[in-house]
């Protein structure tokens, strides 16, 4: 499926899910199932998917804490007494958060970073942002490698970063890394200008999607829209 259609479908779906009132738990469970269905339809093996779903963990921890720290009427939950408002908020947060993460993972595992950049460009996201995103994709490894080499060189001279006294050298190498990256940025710019760059990334392979591809991409969002409106009216 063309990446721009997927991206629009993803954003629209998430927005509609967020717009569902938190009290409509059944509807939210239904939408979570839609998201899981989308994820399963990618046919990517579960062992690849599960580690990626772990990005949700901080939200889960927050949601689990919420019933204990929120104020308001208290209810009994097993051996604990928890805040009712907090409990409801936690359930809604978990359901919406998981739904969002599940579809985002479905998008991420089926879209190469390069296609994401092309989709953003096709959707008229400002060129500067697209260019920055493209550079990030390209240079995250280069800067990461450089950081690793600097760490190896540091550690080879007997450095260990166990105590607070290690912070000044760490700060200095972070600064050096920043300056090297900045200088690399200047050299990359020179090389781009030398090849006739004039401020805009050329679109070499325009994206296009058929109406049936659009329909498929927007189907989950349409379901979420109907649910969101239905819950509010009914």
């Amino acid at each position: 499926m063309p990446p721009h259609a997927k991206l629009v479908g993803l954003v629209a779906f998430v927005l509609f899910v967020v717009s569902v009132p938190p009290a409509a738990r059944l509807a939210l469970v239904g939408l979570l199932l839609v998201a899981v269905a989308v994820l399963l339809s990618t046919r990517v093996p579960l062992r690849h998917l599960l580690p990626r779903l772990a990005v949700e963990l901080p939200f889960v921890v927050f949601a689990l804490l919420l019933p204990f720290v929120a104020v308001g009427p208290q209810v009994a939950l097993g051996p604990f007494t928890v805040s009712q408002n907090g409990l409801e908020a936690a359930v809604a947060l978990l359901l919406k958060g998981t739904t969002g993460v599940v579809v985002a993972v479905a998008f991420a595992v089926t879209t190469a970073p390069r296609d994401l950049v092309r989709a953003l460009q096709h959707l008229r996201v400002p060129d500067t942002l697209v260019t920055i995103a493209g550079f990030m994709v390209r240079y995250v490894d280069v800067v990461g490698d450089q950081m690793r080499r600097m760490r190896v060189a540091r550690d080879s001279r007997g450095f260990s970063s166990r105590s607070v006294r290690a912070w000044p050298p760490l700060a200095a190498s972070t600064g050096a890394l920043f300056i090297r990256s900045f200088e690399r940025g200047e050299r990359v710019h020179l090389a781009m200008v030398s090849r006739g760059w004039s401020g805009r990334m050329p679109v070499t392979e325009p994206l296009s999607a058929t109406s049936s591809q659009w329909a498929l991409a927007l189907a989950p969002a349409a379901v979420a829209a109907v649910v969101s409106v239905g819950v509010r009216l009914g």
Partner: protein, 243 residues
């Protein structure tokens, strides 16, 4: 004699900080020549290279590429004609795939579709890496990246290929393979290098730049055979190497 591909006349340049890097450089390169630009560190070689496609503008003097003066109006055409391959391929290759990167230059010139694809294949084949088109640059070996960097410039069908230290960081096999590729290309070459054996191997003519001026210009073997000249300008052949 033919119109020189590269005609540098009296170019002088001082960096904004006041450091004067070039003091009136004259350099002519004719079609089909392979010329080595030699000189110690800090001689102004890179500064000179950045004048060739108008990234730096000379404080005095002029640069002409196949009869076209390097001025603001002609910059795009000048940058098509003068292809600079920078020393670190990671600076040159910034797109997510090799194919996109090689297409970047010709796309800036307005090429699209089948013509652009053909140009990409042609350039990658010329350096023998057509099979790498869909790989990401950071997954390639250093030697492969150097070759792809050359392809990104060849894709613009330059009249002169300017290489900044093409043999640096290459293992001996990659270095030899690159020499064979450079010899097989039908393009004028200006090669900036410290690798004197490489200059002997590839370039019939050498120009020595030292402290911002041209101090020698002649057949590579004669220039490198002049022991006093070499010593005066901190140029040394590797131990055990003789011409």
């Amino acid at each position: 004699m033919s119109v020189p591909v590269l005609d540098v006349r009296g170019v002088a340049y001082a960096y904004p900080g006041g450091h004067q890097a070039l003091f009136g450089v004259d350099l002519h390169v004719h079609p089909g020549e392979r010329v080595a630009l030699l000189g110690p560190n800090g001689a102004g070689k890179t500064t000179l290279v950045l004048h060739l496609n108008g990234i730096l503008t000379p404080g005095a003097g002029s640069v002409t590429v196949s009869g076209l003066p390097v001025t603001g109006d002609n910059l795009l055409e000048v940058r098509r004609r003068v292809g600079i391959v920078f020393q670190d391929p990671d600076d040159q290759l910034f797109m997510p795939t090799v194919r996109d990167d090689v297409a970047f230059g010709p796309a800036n010139l307005g090429l699209r579709g089948a013509e652009l694809d053909a140009r990409v294949v042609e350039a990658l084949s010329a350096v023998g890496v057509a099979d790498l088109a869909d790989r990401a640059p950071h997954h390639l070996s250093f030697g492969q990246r150097r070759r792809v960097a050359i392809a990104t410039v060849l894709a613009m069908r330059p009249e002169i290929l300017v290489l900044d230290e093409p043999s640096s960081n290459l293992d001996p096999a990659s270095r030899r393979e690159l020499a064979a590729i450079l010899r097989s290309l039908d393009v004028t070459v200006l090669m900036v290098t410290h690798d004197l054996p490489y200059a002997v191997e590839l370039c019939e003519r050498s120009v020595v730049l030292s402290e911002g001026t041209v101090v020698a210009d002649g057949a590579t073997r004669e220039v490198l055979g002049d022991a006093t000249l070499m010593a005066r300008h901190r140029l040394e052949l590797p131990v055990g190497f003789s011409i």
